[in-house]
Symmetry: D2
Subunit: 353 residues, 4 copies
Amino acid sequence: MISFASDYTKGAHPEILERLMENNFDQMPGYGTDDICRSAADKIKEKCGCPDGDVFFLVGGTQTNQTIIDMLLKPYEGVVAADTGHIAAHEAGAIEFSGHKVLTLPNKGAEKDTDKYGSDVGKINASDLKKYLDTFYGDGNHEHMVFPGAVYISHPTEYGTLYTKKELTDISAVCREYKIPLFLDGARLGYGLMSKRTDVTMKDIASYVDVFYIGGTKVGALFGEAVVFPKGVPTAHPVPVIKQHGALLAKGWLLGIQFDTLFTDDLYFEISENAIEMAELLKERLTEKGYKFFLDSPTNQQFIIVSDDKLKELSQNVGYSFWEKYDDTHTVIRLATDWATTEEDVETLMKFL
Amino acid sequence: MISFASDYTKGAHPEILERLMENNFDQMPGYGTDDICRSAADKIKEKCGCPDGDVFFLVGGTQTNQTIIDMLLKPYEGVVAADTGHIAAHEAGAIEFSGHKVLTLPNKGAEKDTDKYGSDVGKINASDLKKYLDTFYGDGNHEHMVFPGAVYISHPTEYGTLYTKKELTDISAVCREYKIPLFLDGARLGYGLMSKRTDVTMKDIASYVDVFYIGGTKVGALFGEAVVFPKGVPTAHPVPVIKQHGALLAKGWLLGIQFDTLFTDDLYFEISENAIEMAELLKERLTEKGYKFFLDSPTNQQFIIVSDDKLKELSQNVGYSFWEKYDDTHTVIRLATDWATTEEDVETLMKFL
Amino acid sequence: MISFASDYTKGAHPEILERLMENNFDQMPGYGTDDICRSAADKIKEKCGCPDGDVFFLVGGTQTNQTIIDMLLKPYEGVVAADTGHIAAHEAGAIEFSGHKVLTLPNKGAEKDTDKYGSDVGKINASDLKKYLDTFYGDGNHEHMVFPGAVYISHPTEYGTLYTKKELTDISAVCREYKIPLFLDGARLGYGLMSKRTDVTMKDIASYVDVFYIGGTKVGALFGEAVVFPKGVPTAHPVPVIKQHGALLAKGWLLGIQFDTLFTDDLYFEISENAIEMAELLKERLTEKGYKFFLDSPTNQQFIIVSDDKLKELSQNVGYSFWEKYDDTHTVIRLATDWATTEEDVETLMKFL
Amino acid sequence: MISFASDYTKGAHPEILERLMENNFDQMPGYGTDDICRSAADKIKEKCGCPDGDVFFLVGGTQTNQTIIDMLLKPYEGVVAADTGHIAAHEAGAIEFSGHKVLTLPNKGAEKDTDKYGSDVGKINASDLKKYLDTFYGDGNHEHMVFPGAVYISHPTEYGTLYTKKELTDISAVCREYKIPLFLDGARLGYGLMSKRTDVTMKDIASYVDVFYIGGTKVGALFGEAVVFPKGVPTAHPVPVIKQHGALLAKGWLLGIQFDTLFTDDLYFEISENAIEMAELLKERLTEKGYKFFLDSPTNQQFIIVSDDKLKELSQNVGYSFWEKYDDTHTVIRLATDWATTEEDVETLMKFL
């Protein structure tokens, strides 16, 4: 049964598996201290235009969010995020588990009006952020409140939407005005960078934020996220922090090999582009068939409204993600393309839609 | 350069890589809810003789220790361990990070007398444990102290030593008397089970302990530890606990595939045996050459005392682990064989020793 | 300078100080194990109609909220509260510090329309709560979300508003349906119970909730909160939990003496009534002078809208609490009466208003 | 029944109660922002010779240890202490609860030989500390271990013993060499400073350590500990850190009044001296009666060995603290004098011994 349920239903790009095979009996030092990790980090730093940055590799997204946020915050600080942000909604309290509050800003586009929803859902904006910070610092005594110590955004967001260069610049400016580090969750970064409707490059991101990560798990790797601190990691000892979170992979080179492969000959971007092209094709087909989109996503995740009767039938033949109930007789579902989706896959899916 | 520095310097058993290749484009549901994980769990439960148990898969050792211990303990409880236990000494405070104290028992064999050292180092024993618990509960008010809420042992220990069946039975009996769960860290379990000098089987372990894990990272897998609760997991919702620790792998089937392969046709045991045979060969060769052993290890980790001059030379040609300074002119080093070590590797090593 | 800034600007009721004097050299066992604590607990249990309950005494509100919530929750659970709840907004992240998320429900009455604001602000209601729980448990997979493990309400709320008996019954019924404990923060409980506009008694509260506390700090004690678990405390070892939070007072009898005094001859209720009568007088005078109320509070905290010019003058002569900016030229301030406020105090205040 | 069980069995020095009475209806701002706290802090800073230091007041010892240690440590750091240190042994895991490991050094004097025991028990020493730090930083990779981020000592120790000026200087020098802050727990500081056998003054302490506290709970106050950072507090926002620990007393001036009284006309020292004189008298009487001391304590806590038969009788008439079993027929008990003990009390006690 074919599945468009998510972008993490398959293994890895074949070149990665080949490199793992080739390297299998080369003996390597542990914990990411090997040369391949170094090579991968160098390639990433070059691509990001931050030769003096620090890059390290972790296994998965929640782990990465938890570990980075812990590195950024003082004990009495929390992290600002959209209320739909992954760390706020879908990580089982991993941030609170490590002692920090997620301070939520209501995301725009809560209305079920496709147009408005499309551009802003899942995002925060600079003016809301500034208002929040102004109020926090302006209103007399705030020493009994949680201090905003970092700002978290995801790009693409959990809804597949993207920040514009202007929006990122503005958010970044507010963060710098308040000396608060900006962290960008790029679990699906490739799909954002290769969108047909973006003016944001990886170098832009590296220049706007204090830390971000380049998602591998959802973009062609077996697993892995490459964390980039463009201006250097803000703790003298990142290793024990990572270890303490149970996030230090013994065979760290497995991450190095994957990212070294993905950042050789722009493989990461090429396979990301495939997902975007397949998403565009999917949108075309869905539009032809008269499907209504729940929101206007420019990346690989597409959200459509399906009647519950149709859905019953569909679920016999195709994998999809339940998103939310739309009304009493309709449901929003997510269909995601990925680095390996083919035209044939899309056509197969469309047979059942 | 050949390395005997550890048992996690190589990738995975070729059969595992092949299965990953074969399965690469089969679409799978996430987070370990797939059929391969189920199959692997079933094979493990059968091997352990605990059909009603629960099995799940995590990525690495520290993460596993942290997550399991958090599942076992109430907030005011700590975990009892040898002061040389991995959780006490080498996990960067991962247990304390999640709010719990490691209550240490001094391990026996602190003397540098090989014979005594050999049998007990790294272990706790039932009588020390009982004395500790008797004192705790006996001495008037203990409500200002950390309650012992679980007992942690490693088998093999960090020194490669093993518990006997009698020792495990006794520790288990004390735990049951005090209603305290017993947790066995089996990061190198295969090497313990296949030792020439053990009377302990996997079924024994499953019957003595409340939870243990079967190490994959050090025994033929790319990564992964199989957690076994022979009588069932003690929390209604293990998934959010795992997620909260950043320990839930998105592509959970990668773990399933590895353990399913390792537990097909006893591959896990067969490759573990290889490490033991190579360790025996290594010991023979070292003895022939007159090397003094720091302790008498019946498993794949061997500890020898080397003059610092010799060591200087050795480090040009061979990977090893520094263990500790023995005296002003000698050093203890660790040499580890593994699932893939060959006779040729041993002979190559011996050329430099 | 007279102050209406809060209800914790004065020491304690003189009878309490006298008891402290009398008892000063009677030697007492530590940590609340003394007879006076027992006597105070018995009086409270009788008053609450819960002879089989557990009562213990802590020092302050945030400490109490943090400790109780930790007792109620499993590690993967959070506590549901109004977004204006003290634990959500004004405790510097004390709940997150101990590892738990505060799951917020938007409180009703966010509009600056006095009437609507008056009845609901600061409260949650049963239907919102039920909807939240239904959605949580209804929507497919929630294992990546924080489980609702307790419900927190304050009575009076941070805005001085009160739940009706009907509202409490309904919230309690939802909690019981979902088997989630209900916790009532009664930092100002006396002022709620003695309001002219309440139908809720202490026995009602004890029958609706799983745990609540009777505020002393703001109601006639030097410090102290009496925690009541009407059906017993849900942990076998409350003392180490309290100790671990740094919340175990060495000279526990100081708390016992205060609550024993407050619960002798209904002193607690008598002095609470004084605050209410003074608040009613204050409201009368403010209304006469044409002040507009920000909301309709039936307890000792009153919120009025004052022009910024007036406020400048006022601040020279009277203590008040800044609450929030109302508009560009007006500010909301809080004026609180307490157990010791006199008619003369009110008249003095009114001279400056 | 008279009790020598501890130094926290009575209320407060009468002058403190009088000041509380006098001040009872003076309205004060909350959370320690009042003038009396400021006055008390100034008096303490003058006494300590640290005009640029920071002083604030907390309620109890465990709370103070927990909060200060959290201020000193980075997330991956632990605190070094004697294995008998209060934070290591008797605070129910409060340090681990806030995420940090207590790294223990074995205290000297574990032998039951009175003489040796007397001078060192409960203490750490500079050479052990240096050796620990040398080993930590010397031994190759320590990034998987808990970093020593602060050193905790108590003075007097939990056994009533004292550091000499030389010992403190040496420990302080090691800490400065390694840039690790030194924290001195002075829960019984007055009794240490007024010992007949000390050469350490409060100014010495303020010059050797980075933070210490002056115990009030055990030395004449109802409750309260004055925290002194001689060179300033190391966090920009101590208030939210304190609040987050549930340690911010609403009526902070209650602490200010107590310490302002204790530091007026050297009352703190005068009443501490009383405890010492009574301890000396007690030792004289005990020696006359042939009692054997478990250790040689120069402060207010005395430890004697009593036959279990005698103890049975004693427990009918006198309060004491069980310390530990000495042998099968003897027990070590603690007898503590305090700021209010009279000669008559001692003679009454001796009637039963």
